[in-house]
């Protein structure tokens, strides 16, 4: 497709499917707007009327209470009506196709679809299919993208470190299966981060990962040297033992973030994790609860970032 599916003719955001290819100005606009929403969530009434009368459908073809909840809170703080659907168990098993499901919901006057799906590209498929007055937000598709997570990570980094153009950022762990890692890497490179590092064993790094604009390190101490930001990725249970890794213990030994490994990073380095954490697998509790961890602020910022994305999508004549 020549046209970027995410932007309308005027170059404004139409859907949020991936950070790859998103113009820098749009990313900055989302982060700036999110900053305004952070203030809103600290007020007595934590709501603004922007999306009053609009319907946001949370379509989770893959279960995730946590992500769904943050989208739900964000939509409600914008005064939208929120409808949650866990579809993994309902119509899909009755043989209804994904696009049939979407057509049905569109007929119920949905304005926005927040979609989580196990297959890479599912959000693209839906975005290509819906009428122009529907907006699609990708809440995670397979291994491909989780753009709001990438944006909230970028927001958090900007909050603590301001200028992306002087930073070294390390992403550690299971990058092969991680949509979070892909989205963050695209956000960082678009925002001008000069040094993005991918740290992990070969079995957890996708082929040609360097083409995303990262430097690969297999040795964690070497990879963390003098970095400003460390992003630890979640290791799924089913991948801890098998052909990719011998055990969770050995993974922790080589790639778990401990105080001792953290010490090779800059003294003011921040530690991030998209959650939910596996303590003692990716990250030591001392570090997770330590002064350099910004894991809980990430969650708070995540709501503001999702409000920003929804408010930028939901307005304007379509």
């Amino acid at each position: 497709m020549a046209r970027n599916l995410q932007l309308n003719e005027k170059g404004e955001l139409q859907h949020l499917l991936t950070i790859e290819g998103l113009p820098r100005e749009i990313i900055v606009r989302i982060l700036d707007t999110a900053a305004s929403f952070v203030g809103v969530t600290e007020r007595e009434v934590k709501k603004v009327p922007l999306l009053r009368g609009k319907s946001v459908f949370n379509l989770f073809f893959e279960a995730s209470t946590r992500t769904r909840t943050t989208f739900e809170i964000a939509a409600k703080r914008l005064s939208a009506d929120v409808i949650n659907l866990n579809i993994s168990t309902s119509s899909q098993s009755k043989g209804e196709t994904l696009l049939d499901t979407i057509d049905n919901l569109a007929a119920m006057h949905a304005d926005m679809f927040v979609v989580r799906h196990a297959a890479s590209g599912a959000a693209h498929l839906i975005a290509r299919h819906v009428a122009p007055h529907h907006h699609v937000i990708n809440a995670g598709d397979g291994r491909h993208a989780h753009p709001t997570q990438g944006l909230l990570d970028a927001y958090t980094i900007r909050h603590y470190k301001q200028d992306f153009t002087r930073l070294s950022v390390a992403v550690v762990g299971d990058i092969l299966h991680s949509r979070v890692a892909r989205s963050l890497i695209h956000a960082l490179t678009t925002l001008g981060t000069p040094d993005v590092r991918a740290i992990g064993p070969q079995t957890l790094l996708p082929t040609g990962v360097e083409s995303l604009g990262v430097r690969v390190f297999h040795d964690m101490r070497e990879g963390l040297r003098d970095v400003d930001v460390i992003v630890m990725l979640r290791l799924q249970n089913e991948r801890m033992k098998g052909p990719l890794l011998p055990s969770a213990q050995e993974f922790f030994k080589c790639y778990g973030l401990t105080a001792e490994k953290l010490a090779v990073a800059k003294p003011d380095a921040i530690v991030m994790h998209p959650g939910p954490m596996n303590r003692g697998v990716e990250i030591d509790s001392m570090v997770a609860d330590g002064r350099q961890a910004v894991i809980l602020p990430q969650v708070t910022f995540g709501i503001a970032v999702r409000m920003a994305v929804m408010s930028l999508l939901g307005g304007g004549a379509a």
């Binding site: 203030g39 009327p49 922007l50 307005g315 004549a317």
Partner: protein, 167 residues
């Protein structure tokens, strides 16, 4: 078409003169971004108010969101004091349709319940579309409906009014 524009600095001085007898140490002042915030900043200093100045960005309360989308350059609202039970002065540069003021009042109430809100505007250009009027007005001007009346601030902080004929 020609409208004689007054000197904004003189109009401002007129505002100060009217406000001086009305404010108390407890008065809270809130400026609407961006022009209203400039005026409020000056008033806050010149009137010697002690409660810190608040600013409002009403982008999230605009009634044209559904047709025009979210406005760019959203700088966050900041109300660094408790609005509950307080007498507030809401400051804007130009009062026109009244829709901005409506949005601002809606937003203020999401911070709490003030005892009263007084509206202070540098210029009232007429053309109201809502039942809103200002208590303190620096100057009243008849500006054709399509024209755009703007307040600007130069590097030295001096205010000036500008009129662009509408299309």
């Amino acid at each position: 078409m020609s409208v004689a524009l007054p000197d904004a600095e003189r109009v401002y001085a007129e505002l100060v003169r009217q406000l001086e007898p009305l404010v108390t140490p407890e008065t809270g002042m809130v400026g609407i971004q961006t022009g209203g915030a400039w005026v409020a900043e000056r008033l806050h200093r010149d009137l010697g108010l002690v409660v810190p100045l608040g600013t409002l960005n009403i982008s999230f309360y605009r009634d044209d969101y559904a047709s025009s989308g979210l406005h760019a350059n959203v700088r966050p609202s900041q109300i660094p004091f408790d609005v509950n039970g307080r007498r507030l002065l809401l400051v804007d540069d130009v009062l026109f349709t009244g829709r901005t003021v409506r949005g601002a009042m809606n937003e203020l109430f999401d911070y709490g319940r003030p005892e009263s809100i007084g509206l202070v505007v540098l210029v009232d250009r007429g053309g109201r579309q809502l039942p809103i009027c200002a208590q303190i007005v620096g100057a009243t001007l008849a500006v054709p409906a399509g024209a755009k009346l703007d307040l600007r601030r130069d590097g030295a902080g001096r205010l000036s009014l500008h009129l662009e004929p509408g299309g």
